[in-house]
Amino acid sequence: MPGVDARDRRASTSARWHRPLLVALGVGYACVLAATTPFSTGSEIATAVALSGVSAVVLDQHLGARRDRSAVLGRLPAPTPGRIGPGALVSLALLALIVGFELFSFFAGSRFDHPTLSSMETSADRWFAAKAAIAFVWLSLGWYLVRR
């Protein structure tokens, strides 16, 4: 059907532009965050805007899910859980070790002798590119948590 083909083409074009646009927005906003100074009003506003954006997406998803449930007059089938394999377990073990080592370094005494991830990030803040990269990773993580 020509109408369906045109709709599919439009959807495909939209999907093709969606990700680069999102990445460009993320890079732009990471640069805004990197340009602010911690403990300043500017940094608080820039961070609060990102937090508000994610909160708005979560709220919209929550309300949308409620609307969908009432529309179908019943619970939607639960998504099929994926298979958890050794790759995920190794990553999980590494994550647990990172959290444990961060706590150990935090309580070990001298921050010079036992730098934490947080103190290393503070040292990296003096380079704009490093701070922007960290901000981009943080924004990407937020997008990962709220995407459907």
């Binding site: 911690p38 940094s43 990553s91 999980l92 994550l95 002798d113």
Partner: protein, 65 residues
């Protein structure tokens, strides 16, 4: 060997290992990556909210305070 150097080496091994695992899972397009695990956790409201609050705290800690 100073404590500082040892700490940096351990951080390198841990963070590098996690990065390698993630890249390997992406390249393999494996269904057994940590992504599968996180996605199944995100299906539940309470862990999802906890992860989001953790993400918010992290951002505030890194960029505002």
């Amino acid at each position: 060997l100073t404590s500082r150097l040892v700490t940096f080496v351990i951080w390198g091994v841990l963070v590098g290992g996690l990065a390698l695992c993630t890249v390997w899972a992406l390249v393999q397009r494996s269904a057994t990556s940590i992504d599968t695990l996180v996605r199944s956790v995100l299906q539940h409201a309470v862990p999802r909210l906890a992860l989001l609050l953790g993400w918010m705290w992290l951002g505030w800690h890194l960029f505002a305070r």
